[in-house]
Structure formats: C-alpha cells, structure tokens
Symmetry: C2
C-alpha cells in the first residue's frame, strides 16, 4: 500500500446525506479521499445497475477542495463502477467505504441495501470494502459515536487488512459512545420482513399500494449481528458474494440427469 492510501467513498442516502459527511471527515485523516455518490436517495436499491440509460457525473466541492467529489445520476453500484473505470481509471483504490447509512443493514437487510451493494461491488472488483450503518433512520441522526467507531475500524483495516474477506458489514447501535460495549465479529442473523401494503387511492381514485412492514428475527443465537446490536455492541460481519449453498449440493440428485 502507498504511504497515502486512496479511499473511495459512496453511499445510498445520497451525496448530501449527513452520514457520508462523517465518513469523509474520518477518511480524510487517513488518505486521499475520492467520493462518487448518488445525487438522490437510493435506499433499498440492492445491487441494481443502470443499463437502459446513460449515467452522468458532476464534480462538486461540497467536501472542500481536498476531496475529489462527484455526484452521480446512477445507483450505488453504478457509482462504484464509474469511480473505478472513469474517475479513478488506472489508479489503485486501497479501500472503499460506503455509508454511513441512516438505518440498520444488519441481518438479511444486507441483501436489500444499496450501501452494502456499493461495498459489495467494490469487493467483487478486488477492492477491500466496508459498509457502515447507524441504527437511526433520521436524516439528522447523531453520528458522534459512529465517527469514533469508523475511525477505529478504518485504522485497523488500513493497518492489518480485512483478514480473509474483502467485505465487512458494520452496524453501529444508536447509543452514546460511552454506552457501546465493544466491537464483535458476528454472523448474519436469520430474519425477514413481514410486509404489509398500505392501500390507498390517488387523487383520481385509482388504487395504489405502498410497501411497509416490520422486521422479524428468527434467530436466538448470541453470535449474530442482531444480538450484538441489541446488547450495544458494534457488529462486524464478513460478507461473501459466492451465494452457493454448498451444504445443499448433495441433496439435489433428483434434478441431476442425462436429460
């Protein structure tokens, strides 16, 4: 790694969100920061990419003159792709940080999360990546404790790497720094959304449905991210992008055939 590492930053709440500001502030202490982030909120965009339309990027100076920042018309994953292949073409990227997301990406939310998808895209392209989320959906969430946690984790990542993974999902409980009990390495908790659709009528009296719901955990393990967060620990889950369920390979012989 170079003496001054290049740190790419993105998010899914958009380039003007409070959470990314905290991330940029901390990252500037460690290296040369390049931001490519969506110009509109992209929560729950998952690993969506833009293929039917062109993407645009616009340079801006909202993070000051030391930070190369672009807002991008695409999804979080688009931001990473265009950062690597256009903005930073030919340069090494030492670390990608995504977030700080306003709201949890623990448990299976990792699958829906634009924040984590940006980080996953970076990791798929070989860049060590960390997604950060604070358990507070509010636009004016308090990132003071999160800032200290991010600093500690980024320092450890730049010094000693990400172990044998390329991607970490870090969630931070919404409590004061003094109330945080520590940082725990966890597995992803089992759980899923129980949806309700709020049915309504538009001004022309046509029906619409609006997604809502609550998250239900189905996991009582004390080694999960959910357990950690409920007990005021920061959760760190190593993430992979090989989705093969290896343990099921031997249970599918009835599909295998000569045709």
């Amino acid at each position: 790694m170079k003496n001054t590492p290049t740190i790419l930053i993105s998010n899914d709440d958009g380039i003007t969100a409070k959470g990314i500001e905290t991330l940029v502030k901390v990252a500037k202490e460690f290296g040369q920061v390049v931001v490519v982030a969506p110009n509109s909120p992209q929560s729950a965009q998952g690993h969506s990419i833009t293929i039917e339309d062109p993407i645009r990027i616009y340079r801006n100076t909202i993070f000051g003159s030391n930070v190369v920042a672009y807002e991008c018309s695409g999804t979080p994953v688009d931001c990473i792709k265009i950062a690597k292949n256009v903005v930073l073409k030919g340069s090494d990227i030492d670390l990608c940080l995504s977030g700080i997301n306003h709201g949890s990406n623990a448990s299976t939310n990792v699958i829906y999360s634009g924040t984590m998808s940006a980080a996953m895209e970076a990791s798929m392209e070989g860049i060590p990546a960390i997604g950060f989320s604070l358990l507070d959906f509010a636009a004016d969430a308090n990132f003071e404790a999160a800032e200290k946690i991010v600093r500690q984790i980024v320092r450890a990542a730049l010094k000693d790497g990400l172990g044998s993974t390329k991607l970490l999902n870090v969630n931070i409980p919404n409590v004061s720094f003094e109330s945080i009990n520590g940082i725990r390495i966890c597995r992803q908790a089992k759980g899923y959304w129980i949806e309700e659709f709020k049915e309504g009528k538009d001004p022309l009296q046509r029906p619409y449905y609006w997604l809502t719901g609550k998250y239900e955990y189905q996991d009582s393990g004390e080694d999960t991210d959910i357990w950690a967060l409920e007990n005021n620990y920061v959760s760190v889950v190593p993430v992979k992008h090989d989705l093969t369920m290896y343990e099921a390979l031997d249970s599918l012989d009835h599909f295998s055939s000569k045709v």
Copy 2:
C-alpha cells in the same frame, strides 16, 4: 402440498417477454398459476425494492382466462412481495418460478439479476423458488429446449422438493434440446465484469457514460455453473441468502475490541 399446487410466476424482462410465456405454459400443466410480473423491463435491478413511491397492479388476461395475471409497476422483488401480501394474501404458495430470463444469470450474475432476486425474495419468505435463464439475450430467443428442461425440473421440484435449499439458479445453454448433455448440480463460478463506459455527448453536448463490459471468469473448476454451460449442460446451483463468510470469522480479531 395440495393436489393442485399454486405456482407464482414472475420475471425481470417484463410480463410481455417471450420467456415468461414459456414458463406460464409449462406451469399450467402442473397447477394453478398466478403471475405478478413487472410492466416494464427490469433487468439488472438486483434486489431493489420500491419504498419511495406507491406500487400499482393491473389485472390482465394475456395468458388466458385460466391464469390470474397482474402487471406491476414495481421491481421483480416488489412483484413477489405484493403477490404474497395482496394478490395471494392468506393463500399458500407452493412454488415460485422466475424467468425464463433472456440471458445468463450464471456465476456472480446472480447478484445483479432481477430474475434471481425475485426468486430469492420468495425463498426468503419461505416459498421454494427456482429462477430460470436461457443463454440468449435476444427478445425472440428460441425457448423450445428450455421448455422441456423447465418441465423436467418443475416436475421434480413438485414431486420431491428442493432438497435442503429453498432456491435454485437454473441456467440453460442456448442449444437444441438434442445437444444438451444433461443437468448438473454446480457451484457458482468465480468471475466478474470488466467494465467499460461508452462515453458520449447528448444533444446539448453534455457528456454521458453508458455501462458496457464483458464478463471474465476466474475459475477453472469443472464443478461450476460456467463449466457446465460451456459443455452444454444445464446448470443447477443451490443458493442461500446468508452472506456471512464463515471461514473469515476467525481472521478478524484485530477489529474486535472493548472500544
């Protein structure tokens, strides 16, 4: 399972795509078919969901009077959520089929794929699910061989289940049925997209970038989906939604702390 299973069908190419028509045709032979599919192409939408806007569904009869079909203004994942929670609220869904996608979803494409995300969403909600893809992007692709493969796989799934997984990623080579050597249970091949952005100027001379690229495999294993497809086998990969990289849990002690 009931004598007449309820089969939910969706896709990401849109309700008027040729691939879903083949899937509906086969599924009707086995059970009561309900289609909820996007009213516009949603390729590469990943696990995107719609939370900032309402969703609309419209009943139609394009698959004949025996098939309950709705087109939906949302993403593939939205389609599954609204099918389960509105269209089929309170009813059991015995199997979810997604596709047949026009184009490959092998290797890490499973992560970008709207087709596979619809199937994954169903599996996360406890519904056994299969995503089908044919290795031909053309709108008028020939689904004759795929139809026979789908029939064979759906029959086996309804008779004997999906083993110890809830989700299969099935890819079908673009060759005649006679040229298909069989069906193989596989793991997801390693690989990634090498992107280029085609740079252009819009009519007002403002720059834009359009995503393009080619897929590069980084895997020489003969147990992968890519190997199977290149050797004219149908690939069947069991898929999970626990993204924890368990093998990395012990390599991250330098992050773990008391704060």
